[in-house]
């Protein structure tokens, strides 16, 4: 137990140091970062505009009012942003780290490879999504009849936490494929894009599609299911328990595939 605490403590310390480094790096690219952040905010603003056009013509979407849709939408941005913030370097694994043989250096460090890879990048861009997500929640909460109890706040935090690892798990599994194929960034992209389905109620999709996003690539658990629990539909066991279970399963498979991949990593010709 004591060893575990020491280990976690060290992990957090390293995280802190890397975050500090990344912020320093950011200062070198200040203008670039700020324009990018404006771009991200604008993208979300346009999405909001898009939704408002739709709702200017219809009262509700399959029983979901504009405010409820905004709530689900805002919720979907939180786990996405947190995953983006901490685990963004997994994209580079699939796109170029393995192909170029740059994975070697992680294997010469006295920390787990997965930790060494993910800790290296603190993706500050994600703050854009985080801010917009929180703003959407703040705007919608007063209008959606939410039961703000201690238990619900706790469940909220728990579900965002696990939902984050659904994102991470999908990225982990798909980018590990690169250990065998040298490159898998576009496979990750393909699966990752499915997350956009979670921004809307699964009831608008056909049966096959909602089955896929519930049980196969379970992004529905990153936003719609937990969010609709807070909106008063569904039960905690399925909507939030499901989120936790899917996260655990995906991460377990992800770590397994990753470790398998590392042991069959073949480096690149010198």
């Amino acid at each position: 137990m004591k060893k575990f605490f020491k280990k976690t403590h060290r992990m957090f310390k390293l995280h802190r140091i890397f975050i500090k480094q990344d912020l320093k790096r950011l200062m070198e690219y200040k203008v670039d970062f700020l324009t990018g952040a404006v771009g991200m905010l604008l993208t979300q603003a346009i999405n909001l505009f898009f939704l408002s056009i739709i709702f200017s013509q219809i009262p509700d979407l399959k029983g979901y009012t504009f405010e409820k849709i905004i709530f689900i939408y805002g919720f979907s941005l939180l786990p996405k942003a947190i995953d983006h913030l901490f685990f963004d370097n997994l994209w580079s694994i699939g796109y170029f780290i393995i192909r170029k043989g740059d994975f070697d250096k992680y294997l010469t460090r006295p920390v787990s490879t997965l930790f060494a890879v993910t800790v290296e990048k603190f993706q500050v861009d994600a703050f854009g999504e985080l801010v917009v997500g929180i703003a959407f929640l703040c705007v919608s909460i007063p209008n959606v009849n939410l039961d703000v109890s201690f238990l619900n706040i706790l469940l909220f935090i728990v579900s965002v936490f696990f939902a984050t690892f659904i994102f991470t798990g999908v990225k982990l599994i798909t980018s590990s494929i690169a250990f065998w194929t040298k490159q898998s960034g576009n496979i990750t992209y393909m699966f990752y894009m499915v997350n956009d389905f979670a921004k809307y109620p699964t009831t608008i999709y056909n049966r096959a599609l909602s089955f896929i996003i519930t049980f196969i690539i379970p992004f529905a658990f990153t936003a719609f299911f937990p969010a609709s629990y807070f909106l008063g539909n569904g039960n905690a066991l399925f909507n939030i328990g499901g989120t936790a279970m899917m996260a655990v399963i995906l991460m377990a498979v992800g770590i397994f595939v990753w470790n398998k991949g590392v042991s069959s990593y073949e480096s690149a010709g010198s």
């Binding site: 390293l14 006295p110 990593y265 073949e266 480096s267």
Partner: protein, 337 residues
């Protein structure tokens, strides 16, 4: 310190047929070809030794280094370093070693060099006291002070290499692996780096394994060399042994004042040599004579040549390392244990 026994590494190479059809086919039914990169290599390196690990491109040097550093898992055979097996318990093992790949950097590209060391300090859990001492020492040997506050991307190749070596030594490893540490550097910087490696080895008895294509590196640094070709060991011994056995091959090159008189040169008859002892090449401009200075001294060679013909230019040089390796491989020397 380092024991390597019957080390072997095979790679599976997917044979891909051209075209979309080929890639679909190879996706479902991959056709594999097995390539042996390292074939049954054994050697032993005692503590504090600097070992040169040489061989032509594609000989398998990097593969061996990668196995010794725990990056690759051997197909079969054993390697043990400081009592540990690299690919088992990797995290513990890599604390004991430092690695520099000359063609890659482990420094953080966008940040000031100093920041890389701060991060590595935490990764390797070096305490403050030790870190200060260590940085002072590395500063002295590698002269980092001039550029420690510059972003890594602005460093020259020589500076970057010094910085990379320092990064690999921050945690006082017992073994240092250097994969082509002088590649692409100019003569002065090369000298500088060699001096640093020597100093580190002398100061802390660090065992050093070094791969290189530069004979000067080997001559200046290494107590011993292991030479491999096509994945197998072809020579293992002290540098002097290599020299006395093979390193005496020299090359005499000259531009004759006129080719008519130069054609009268007959080294074989003059020195009573066979075809194996000497190789004369004439490209119509420069004449090159390869010979072994054990059989015929450089002095005799020169004076005979000059007595027969006038020359516009003349020099005698070492045959380069690739040449020696080729020689050894051709003559099929039994690997000495």
């Amino acid at each position: 310190m380092i024991y390597v026994e019957n080390l072997r590494k095979e790679f599976k190479k997917v044979v891909k047929e051209p075209g979309l059809k080929g890639s679909i086919k190879s996706f479902f039914k991959p056709k594999n070809e097995i390539i042996t990169a390292v074939d049954d290599i054994s050697f032993h390196v005692p503590k504090g030794e600097i070992m040169g690990f040489i061989g032509p491109n594609g000989a398998g040097k990097s593969t061996v280094i990668k196995m010794l550093t725990g990056i690759l898992t051997p197909t079969s055979g054993k390697c043990e370093i400081g009592g540990q097996i690299p690919y088992k318990n990797r995290k513990n093992y890599v604390k004991e070693i430092g690695v520099v790949f000359g063609q890659r950097t482990q420094l953080w590209w966008d940040l000031a060099l100093r920041e890389t060391y701060t991060v590595l300090k935490e990764i390797y859990e070096v305490d403050n006291e030790q870190y200060k001492k260590r940085m002072a020492f590395l500063n002295e040997v590698l002269e980092l002070d001039d550029f420690i506050t510059s972003p890594v991307r602005t460093l020259s190749l020589g500076q970057r290499m010094r910085a990379d070596i320092a990064a690999s030594l921050l945690h006082s490893p017992k073994v240092l692996f250097l994969d082509e540490p002088t590649i692409g550097l100019d003569v002065v910087v090369k000298d500088n780096i060699r001096g640093a490696i020597k100093a580190i080895n002398a100061e802390e008895q660090t065992t050093v394994i070094l791969t290189t294509h530069d004979l000067q590196d080997v001559e200046n640094l290494c107590d011993r060399i292991v030479m491999i070709d096509k994945g197998s060991k072809v020579f293992d011994g002290a540098i002097d042994e290599l020299k006395s056995r093979y390193g005496q091959s020299r090359e005499l090159r000259f531009i004759p004042a006129d080719f008519k008189t130069a054609e009268k040169l007959d080294y074989k008859r003059e020195f009573n040599l066979t075809d194996d002892d000497i190789l004369v090449e004439n490209d119509g401009h420069i004449i090159s004579v390869k010979f072994n200075s054990d059989t015929v001294s450089v002095e005799k060679m020169l004076s005979y040549t000059l007595s027969v013909t006038h020359v516009n230019d003349i020099n005698v040089g070492d045959a380069d390392i690739e040449e020696i390796i080729k020689d050894i491989y051709k003559s099929g020397v039994n690997p000495s244990a």
